[in-house]
């Protein structure tokens, strides 16, 4: 007998399996439709714009669109000796179009970034064109080369050729203090100009140390909160939750008051004779301020996951460890501590993720030596207006954060995030 004859049918005569699958699919679609509005909203307003940041960060179409004829002629140029008459002529034509649109200044500036000295020689070329000094019936190459010696230098033409591709990774290299040199290779900038690498390292250092401080301070109080009787722990929990719910700016402001030179912390140091009254240390506008303020602000994010894990550990386990001959320290280390590792992982990853992208607090109390990569991104967004560079740096930071987020998701699971 084949299995088909045994099939169970529903009252409508449809095989039960098919009917069940249909119902399942219907349920799936129903569940998905509930999620769809938020998902769609986030994709349009959030995911796509982050994608746009990527296109912005690699976009280098400006010159590609400005010098179309030149780049077409340059395709056959070997790039070793001065280009041919055709390339010069094409460049001249492109340049004249730009002059009509009054966009030659942008070209000069952009090329100047590629190689110093372009700004002045494009201006010289402009002047010659404006005075109608260039005779289109004679060799354009000869005439352009006469304008300035740099036009006779093959390195400048190589620089133009390097700007041909519509996409570039230059912004990412700049974020790591590297650039593409004349040969097309990747070189590091001079040692004294490597500002971005210092910032990345400092961001990592501050995020790591703040995580460690939060762990060292958060572990004991989470333990105390989890072991105290409810009526005391509820009261003490307020000390953790009130800062958690209070405005970030308020907490930063209170640290600015406390840490200033005439502030209470310095008053206290003077009182106990740690420092002289006329020699109060600067505790704000440097790394110290960033460490102190960020640790206090992020501490609740460490305590809450630790607490929720410790709450589930039965106190009889410690008693059992001790009754089996372990000293309290051994019992703690071999029994209690390993059980809290999930909480430690969750808390540390959360604090690290939050710390690495911190912006407000370092900007206010960090001064020059306490600012992080986020501050640099904001600086380029608001002050230099180099949005493609800001996007590139943002995405570099984002990729780091997403890796940690992925680890967090594997270890803890996002659905296990607990709030309050």
């Amino acid at each position: 007998m084949s299995s088909e004859t045994k099939q169970i049918l529903t009252t409508d005569g449809i095989p039960l399996e098919v009917s069940l699958k249909k119902a399942e699919r219907k349920n799936k679609i129903k569940a998905f439709l509930l999620v769809a509005p938020l998902l769609l909203f986030l994709i349009i307003t959030y995911v796509f714009p982050i994608g746009e940041m990527f296109t912005r960060s690699v976009d280098d179409k400006m010159i590609t669109n400005m010098l179309p004829k030149t780049f077409k002629e340059m395709e056959t140029w070997d790039g070793k000796e001065l280009p041919s008459e055709e390339v010069f002529a094409a460049f001249y034509k492109d340049f004249k179009v730009l002059v009509e649109k009054q966009e030659q200044g942008k070209l000069g500036q952009r090329l100047n970034k590629e190689k110093n000295g372009f700004n002045s020689i494009t201006k010289k070329l402009l002047r010659q064109i404006k005075r109608n000094k260039i005779d289109e019936n004679q060799s354009i190459k000869e005439q352009i080369m006469k304008i300035h010696k740099r036009w006779r230098n093959v390195e400048y033409w190589q620089a133009i050729k390097r700007t041909a591709p519509p996409y570039t990774i230059a912004k990412y290299l700049k974020g790591m203090d590297m650039y593409i040199d004349a040969d097309g290779g990747i070189t590091q900038v001079d040692e004294d100009r490597r500002i971005h690498r210092i910032l990345w390292l400092r961001t990592l250092e501050i995020a790591l140390l703040v995580t460690i401080f939060c762990f060292l301070m958060g572990y004991p109080i989470a333990h105390l909160l989890a072991t105290l009787p409810m009526k005391y722990s509820n009261l003490l929990m307020i000390c953790v939750l009130l800062p958690f719910w209070t405005s970030l700016l308020v907490r930063t402001a209170s640290w600015m008051i406390l840490l200033q030179q005439q502030g209470l912390v310095n008053d206290f140091f003077v009182l106990i004779g740690l420092v002289a009254d006329n020699n109060r240390p600067e505790m704000m506008y440097n790394k110290v301020g960033t460490y102190v303020a960020m640790t206090q602000i992020l501490l609740p994010f460490m305590v809450l996951p630790l607490y929720s894990v410790m709450k589930t550990i039965s106190p009889s386990l410690m008693r059992a460890g001790k009754s089996l001959g372990g000293t309290p320290f051994v019992a703690f280390w071999k029994v209690y501590f390993p059980l809290t590792i999930p909480g430690i992982g969750a808390g540390c990853l959360l604090v690290f993720i939050l710390a690495i992208g911190y912006y407000i607090t370092p900007a206010l109390v960090g001064g020059a030596s306490g600012t992080l990569i986020s501050n640099q991104i904001a600086y380029h967004m608001k002050t230099t207006l180099d949005w493609s560079f800001a996007s590139a740096m943002g995405l570099m930071l984002l990729s780091g954060v997403l890796v940690i987020y992925w680890i967090y998701n594997k270890l803890v699971g996002v659905d296990n995030i607990k709030l309050g």
Binding site: F32, L38, S247, L398
Partner: protein, 284 residues
Amino acid sequence: MALPSYTETRYRIWHYFYIAICTFVFFFLIAPLFVIFPLSFNAEEFLVFSEGMKNLDPDAFSLRWYKDMIYGTKNPWGLAAKNSFIIAIFATIGSIILGTLAALGLSSRHMPYKGLIMAALISPMIVPLIISGVAIFFFMAKVGLAATHTGIVLAHIILGTPFVVITVTATLSGFDHSVTRAAASLGSNPFNTFMKVTLPLILPGVISGGLFAFVTSFDEVVVVLFLAGLDNTTIPVQMWTGLREQLSPTILAVATCLILLSTIILVTAELLRRRSERLRGINR
């Protein structure tokens, strides 16, 4: 935390050391908030405790910074407070609607790719604010919503929904689905079932998620700094500007009000959490 009488001396010492550390940490967490209170009543313009204040001289205290906050000439706080509340309320409503719907879908056992979608929906909470700020700014500028209330509300819905999703899914994890089936078998349509059966049961989770969304929006400054024009300034933006330029006592008066507000929210959230746990039968 009384120690048993047979405790050895070294453990006794260790125990007191541990209590001392905990006291210090609790002090470290809560004390900075209390510096703000007395200084906001300072009669002088400086942000240090004057001699008069240290001696509790009543003349050293005054309400002048609160008056300045409310009546001060060209003061920005009135407009900022109005904007902050309007934006936060609309952002909260938006977050609650989108977040609760999504949480209902995510809690269904039929939901495909649950983990992946959950991770995606939570991501605005994890991605550094500065990156969210840049991305959202590009979007709002393109669709012409930069420097509008609508743009900021939309941005805050993005940042607020993860909290609603998390709290509501947590509430739904203890939800007994047979009650909705019972309602359906008694002839109720899905909408009615949701309004009369599901919603009342998950309401504590929805409200506490809403509180998170409200606070997120009310406290958010990085994204608003990118999006806001002169008319959309909010309390955090004003505080940010004030703190960057000069720490004035007026800011402390505002900060005191904000601390009071957060205390109210904290108490509400705690009461809700306990009610929700009681309803879900979690006894701790």
